[in-house]
């Protein structure tokens, strides 16, 4: 009966039903609850389906259900940020790229907030987004930055499409795609053109104690922060500065600065909203062309091919892609 009310009742009835079902979730345990909630959460394809859970500062997922699609705002701003961020990310992919959620089949967007103790990270675990509160000293809560939310969701898209391996250049390409669509979501929400965007990733994520503008700069990799405690942003923006390391899965968050800047260079050459042309080329490459082991050079060539298919061989768009990659030392 509760399921029926959750499906068909008025707004107030649906909320009461959700709350009752949430209590059931706590009683019956995660696996059963997920199955149950998944079935009642089903809606017609092409609509947003968001759920937010609260891990209560422990390390178990998904945690307690605290907000679902259409339910009223929470008193907890972290919950609302995760919910809103998933919504705007869904909208960009749907309205601009005609993609129906992470899997293009209307997958529900699950997020967990308040994960772990002073946890200074966010991640995609293959099924859902997870956000820590930060330590409060160096890092704020990770839902504060909408591009971080979109970054994590895009890892899901990459998982379902190119399946890029999370190691070395393929891993850095995986990371870069998450930064690219993370930045596009931020620009989309602000209605910004490429020339007006700041191209920072994770703005406001650092506390005031840190001398930094954000985690990364797509425009000028290596300049996002320079702090006595955290050190200096290690990202290169050109192949000649490529960092060889075993840490961080072969520097996936470091060398992503190179393709990040290639996207920025392409987008500013094309002008207007970055999601219109540069975003389309990157999206189609991600969806149709990239493979699990695609490296930077492969990717640059495939994006040239996509630009030719979408806008014509020798088009201004294709030239912008070529010049964008050439700026970072990859001549096609």
């Amino acid at each position: 009966m509760l399921k029926e009310i959750a499906r068909q009742g008025n707004a107030k009835q649906q909320q009461c039903a959700w709350e009752s079902l949430t209590m059931s979730e706590q009683i019956r345990g995660q696996r059963l609850a997920l199955t149950m909630i998944s079935s009642i959460g089903s809606t017609a394809t092409g609509t947003r389906r968001r759920t937010v859970y609260d891990a209560g500062n422990v390390y178990n997922l998904p945690g307690r259900l605290v907000r679902s699609e259409g339910s009223p705002k929470s008193r907890d701003r972290t919950v609302n940020e995760a919910y809103a961020g998933a919504g705007i990310t869904y909208d960009l992919f749907k309205k601009v790229f005609a993609r129906n959620s992470i899997d293009d089949r209307g997958m529900r967007l699950d997020s967990t907030v308040h994960y772990g103790k002073d946890y200074d990270n966010a991640f995609w675990n293959g099924q859902q987004m997870v956000y820590g509160d930060g330590d409060g000293e160096l890092f704020n809560r990770f839902t504060i930055a909408i591009d971080v939310i979109a970054h994590e969701l895009t890892h899901g898209v990459t998982q379902y499409e190119a399946g890029l391996e999370y190691q070395d250049q393929a891993g850095a390409m995986n990371e870069s795609l998450s930064d690219v669509f993370g930045s596009l979501v931020k620009q989309y929400r602000r209605g910004q053109e490429a020339k007006d965007a700041n191209w920072l990733i994770g703005e406001r994520l650092f506390t005031k104690n840190v001398n930094g503008k954000g985690l990364r700069s797509m425009k000028e990799p290596g300049t996002a922060y320079d702090d006595p405690v955290l050190g200096r942003d290690p990202q290169p923006g050109h192949m000649k500065d490529y960092v060889k390391t075993r840490e961080d899965n072969g520097g996936v968050h470091i060398n992503s600065g190179i393709p990040n800047r290639a996207f920025y260079e392409t987008a500013v050459r094309l002008g207007g909203h970055a999601w219109d042309k540069a975003g389309q080329i990157w999206y189609v490459a991600l969806r149709d062309k990239l493979r699990p082991r695609s490296n930077f050079e492969d990717t640059a060539g495939l994006m040239m091919a996509v630009a030719g298919e979408l806008y014509g061989a020798g088009s201004l768009e294709q030239k912008a892609v070529k010049d964008g990659w050439a700026e970072v030392g990859l001549k096609i």
């Binding site: 390390y59 103790k117 002073d118 200074d120 990270n121 966010a122 991640f123 995609w124 675990n125 293959g126 330590d135 000293e137 160096l138 890092f139 990770f142 971080v148 970054h151 994590e152 890892h155 998982q159 391996e165 999370y166 995986n174 990371e175 998450s178 994770g202 994520l205 985690l215 405690v229 955290l230 050190g231 290690p234 840490e247 961080d248 899965n249 996936v252 968050h253 470091i254």
Partner: protein
Amino acid sequence: MKVCFKRTGGLAAISLSVTLDTVGLSEADSKRLHKLIDAISFFDQPQSFTSTMQEVDRFQYEIMAEAEGRVKTIKMDESAVPDLFRPLLDYLTELARVKKK
């Protein structure tokens, strides 16, 4: 006892590390560290805990401990960390943060 801890990876890719010698710690910190190491039978644990899943933006941990002539290094992917290790990891992370400040 000596303990070296390092955390790498994560969305921000900013590493944390700390090297501790219980001789130089306060009595309370020394006792706590010994207790946490003993609680998980550190020297009897496998050398690595590796995830079979591809989980992005997650941390990797490395802990080296040296005590009574025994030395052991354990490497862990965050998603493969046994619950048993969490108190030790939280404590070492806290100490590494204090050192960074």
